[in-house]
């Protein structure tokens, strides 16, 4: 059953085409990886799905319902969560509060009830805090719950972002380079978390450069280069795909020769 479908999606910025006639079909429960050299358009895809960019052409479907051109908050409300390439946690709040912020979808109390400190609100707050601690437990940050988010080391910040994205109760989650800057140990840890998410029935779209993780964990890999899909298939197929190798090696050669 297709949970996400992109049909002929195109996007340009000021005349420069960053995504061209892109098709994508992700099935429920899948772990899909989206890879490609820098500037290939991977984050563009995530931004299009989550509503931060509006597609110039084409349709995006989530559970068969048309997604574009909805606003990002509406899309999150439908059950799509995401993390960002550049970590976007809330620095002035504590680790737990960052996750609590993510429970926005669930929060029921109205302004009046909050202002007057009614029991109903206090109950809800207490319940959310419990839920929040569970999310932190899941990613392994429970001991830092009351620390200021900015005090966390980089690797843990990425876990915090994941915990927060999970508090939106997503059916489908997109992770943008979640292991950038992480140690091997932390990467293994995240890999375990991703498997657990899959077992919980959450579909994952992973944008990543760290090939080891991508090859280990994905069911299927989609490869982008210069805004075009150049390959799609199982990890084995992709590892041996000539076009893919060329795209990556070609870039490296270019960079090398320019440096000289």
């Amino acid at each position: 059953m297709e949970i996400i479908e992109l049909r002929n999606v195109s996007k340009s910025f000021g005349g420069k085409v960053v995504l061209h006639d892109f098709d994508l079909k992700i099935s429920g429960g899948e772990i899909r990886a989206l890879i490609g050299p820098n500037g290939a358009g991977k984050t563009v895809v995530l931004n299009l799905i989550s509503g931060f960019y509006k597609a110039d052409k084409g349709e995006i479907y989530f559970n068969k319902a048309l997604l574009n051109p909805k606003m990002p908050y509406e899309i999150t409300n439908l059950g799509i969560g995401r993390t960002f390439q550049k970590v976007e946690i809330f620095p002035s709040m504590s680790v737990l509060e960052n996750v609590l912020a993510g429970f926005h979808r669930e929060f029921k109390s109205g302004l009046l009830s909050v202002s007057l400190g009614l029991k109903r609100t206090k109950e809800e707050e207490r319940r959310l805090r419990e839920e929040g601690m569970k999310k932190l437990d899941f990613v392994g940050l429970a001991s830092s719950a009351n620390e200021l988010a900015t005090n966390l080391p980089y690797g843990k910040l990425r876990l915090l972002e994941l915990a927060r994205a999970l508090s939106t109760s997503p059916q489908f989650i997109m992770l943008d380079e979640p292991v950038a800057g992480m140690s091997s140990e932390e990467i293994e840890n995240l890999k375990g978390l991703l498997y657990q998410l899959k077992h919980m029935g959450i579909t994952i779209l992973l944008v990543e450069h760290v090939m080891r993780l991508v090859m280990d964990i994905s069911h299927c890999i989609t490869v982008l280069d210069y805004g075009e899909k150049i390959a799609e298939g199982s990890p084995e197929e992709i590892a041996n795909n000539e076009k893919v190798l060329e795209a990556y090696l070609g870039k490296r050669r270019d960079v090398k020769s320019r440096a000289n």
Binding site: G81, F90, P91, L100, A101, S109, V114, S115, N146
Partner: protein
């Protein structure tokens, strides 16, 4: 675990300070003279306005230069409902606050579609337009001539004594600070913070930016309106010049001086900035100049305000600046 303890003792300290301040001000009418009583009344009203402004600027991160209009709506709204429609102060006053909130939403609807400089300009423009409306609606507001306002009464008892009036101000202050605290420590407060710190991430956790900015604006305008209703009754006479751009800038300065996004900061800022020009009372017109210089100095050298300064000097208020 040790971090949790630290938070707890910081919170305990904060509550003790609040309690001491409350006791001091609560008993003040017994030991201060009429002049200071008047000042304290002004401070109380200023605190209410500042906390409201801080909610929208310090927490939700949206600038507003239209608080003069909200303050004015509260003052004129209350005054007109009492003087022209014969309503009791106790009905007119909260209505004044609600009217101000409605104006807040009316201004916010267009204004909050943009941010930064543009938002500042739109709110400034809205303030000017409101001021013009105040001046030109002579039938309702008496225009530039001004409106006389009576003190509130319960039955035959009138709050004509500043000391009695002060208790209205004081209790309102305490209640509205408590309410602000409740809002800040709730999901609403977290949503506001989220909007201020990362609109992108806020959207990704299903926060409708526009809706929540409007909510912050409306709450903020309500506070200003309540403060306005009290102000009109305090000084017993209002005219449009009380609610012009100067007021918006004055409170911008107060919020920055106290410390953006800090309730203690709002108290300190409102306190200092009300007392300071009184010290120069003899030089009346220097008030404006002083506000200008203080704003300039703080925004360049002390952008996090006095609370920011204190929190850098000692760890007492903690690294966390919010509430």
């Amino acid at each position: 675990m040790s971090n949790f303890k630290k938070t707890s003792s910081k919170t305990r300290f904060t509550y003790v300070v609040y309690l001491l301040v409350a006791i001091f001000f609560g008993t003040s009418p017994f030991f201060i003279d009429a002049y200071f009583l008047y000042i304290f009344n002004l401070i109380g009203i200023g605190v209410i306005l500042t906390i409201g402004l801080n909610l929208v600027m310090g927490y939700a991160g949206q600038i507003s230069l239209s608080h003069g209009a909200f303050f004015g709506m509260g003052a004129y709204g209350t005054a007109i409902l009492v003087e022209k429609l014969g309503l009791s102060f106790w009905v007119a006053w909260p209505l004044g606050g609600i009217l101000a909130a409605i104006i807040g939403i009316i201004i916010g609807l267009p204004a909050l579609r943009v941010g930064g400089h543009y938002l500042a300009l739109v709110t400034l423009g809205a303030n000017e337009i409101f001021n013009l409306i105040l001046i030109h609606s002579e039938g309702l507001t008496e225009g530039v001539v001004g409106l006389k306002v009576a003190r509130p009464r319960i039955g035959s008892f009138a709050f004509s004594e500043d000391a009695y009036f002060f208790y209205i101000v004081f209790i309102t202050c305490v209640v509205l600070i408590w309410v602000a605290n409740n809002i800040i420590n709730s999901q609403f407060g977290r949503a506001f913070n989220a909007i201020r710190e990362s609109e992108t991430a806020a959207q990704a956790i299903a926060i409708n930016l526009y809706e929540y900015k409007l909510i912050a604006f409306a709450i903020s305008a309500f506070y200003a309106g309540i403060a306005g209703g009290l102000y009109g009754s305090l000084i017993k006479f209002i005219d449009p010049t009380n609610f012009d751009l100067f007021l918006s800038i004055k409170y911008l300065a107060i919020v920055i001086v106290g410390g953006l996004g800090s309730i203690p900061g709002s108290l300190i800022g409102a306190g200092i900035m009300t007392v300071l020009p009184e010290l120069f009372r003899a030089f009346g017109d220097y008030q404006h100049l002083i506000y200008g210089f203080i704003l300039l100095i703080f925004v360049i050298f002390l952008p996090r305000g006095i609370i920011g300064l204190l929190s850098s000097l000692r760890g007492i208020f903690g690294v966390k600046l919010r509430a």
